[in-house]
C-alpha cells in the first residue's frame, strides 16, 4: 500500500489530504496521470512530485510503502 499526500489548493480540490493506493510497480508519472484523470484535475500537471520526502523524476518506479507527495507551486517566504 502507498500513501498519496496532497497540499494547499490541490488538497482543497480533491477534498482530502491523503489517499491510500496500491501503486507499487507504477511510475510516478503514471500515478500522477491516474490522479489527474480520476479527479478531472488538470492542476495536478503543475505539481512537482516527491517520493519519501525527496523530489523525484516521473520515471521513478514506486515500491511498496513509498509515500508520494503532490507538491503544488510553492509560495513560502
Amino acid at each position: 500500500m502507498n500513501t498519496l499526500l496532497f497540499f494547499a489548493g490541490l488538497k482543497e480540490a480533491i477534498g482530502t489530504d491523503e489517499v491510500r493506493l496500491v501503486a507499487a510497480g507504477m511510475t510516478l508519472g503514471e500515478v500522477k496521470e491516474k490522479v489527474r484523470a480520476e479527479y478531472s484535475l488538470d492542476q495536478v500537471n503543475n505539481c512537482m512530485m516527491a517520493v519519501n520526502e525527496e523530489f523525484a523524476p516521473e520515471d521513478t518506479t514506486i515500491t511498496e510503502g513509498d509515500t508520494i507527495a503532490f507538491i503544488p507551486p510553492v509560495s513560502g517566504g
Binding site: F7, K32, N46, S75
Partner: protein, 152 residues
C-alpha cells in the same frame, strides 16, 4: 548542536535565529526578515494562512544550508519559517547568515530566500476582503519535473 532550520506555528524571534550564527570568526551577520504585506498591487490582504509538508520542508531548508556551504564555505546559516495564520506585519521567515566579510553574507542570504521560493514545500493562502486564493510562483522550468539540482 542546535537545529539550524525549523518550522513552527509560534511567533518567530529574531534573536533565536541570529544567535545560532553569531561567532568569533564572523564580521558580518545578515538577517533577512520576511513579513506579511498588507497591499499587493493595490489589493488589501487581511491575513495569510501558511501550510507546509513539514518533514520535507525542514529537509529542504537543510539542503539549502548545505548548498550555501558549498558556495560560501565560511558561511553559517540559520533559517526559521512560521506557518499557520499570520497577520499583517507578522514575521513569516527569518534567515540569518554570518560570514567573515559582509559581501558573502548578503549574497548567501539572497540565495537562501530565492531557493526557499523554489524548492521548500510551504504554501500561503491569501485572504482578501472579497475572496481567498492559494499563491504559487514556483520557478519551474518544466512542470512536474524538478530541476536536476533539486533532486539531491
Amino acid at each position: 548542536m542546535e537545529q539550524q532550520c525549523w518550522i513552527t506555528t509560534e511567533p518567530l524571534e529574531i534573536e533565536e535565529v541570529t544567535k545560532r550564527v553569531i561567532r568569533r570568526e564572523a564580521g558580518a551577520v545578515n538577517t533577512f526578515i520576511g513579513t506579511v504585506r498588507e497591499f499587493t498591487k493595490g489589493k488589501r490582504t487581511l491575513f495569510l494562512q501558511y501550510e507546509t509538508y513539514k518533514e520535507m520542508a525542514e529537509k529542504k531548508l537543510e539542503q539549502i544550508t548545505k548548498e550555501i556551504d558549498q558556495q560560501w564555505p565560511s558561511a553559517e546559516v540559520a533559517i526559521a519559517h512560521r506557518i499557520g495564520r499570520l497577520e499583517i506585519t507578522d514575521i513569516a521567515v527569518i534567515i540569518a547568515v554570518s560570514t567573515p566579510h559582509r559581501n558573502d553574507s548578503y549574497e548567501a542570504s539572497r540565495y537562501a530566500i530565492e531557493r526557499i521560493k523554489e524548492i521548500v514545500p510551504i504554501w500561503k493562502k491569501e485572504y482578501w476582503e472579497d475572496g481567498e486564493e492559494w499563491i504559487g510562483d514556483q520557478k519551474e522550468v518544466r512542470p512536474g519535473v524538478p530541476l536536476k539540482e533539486e533532486i539531491k
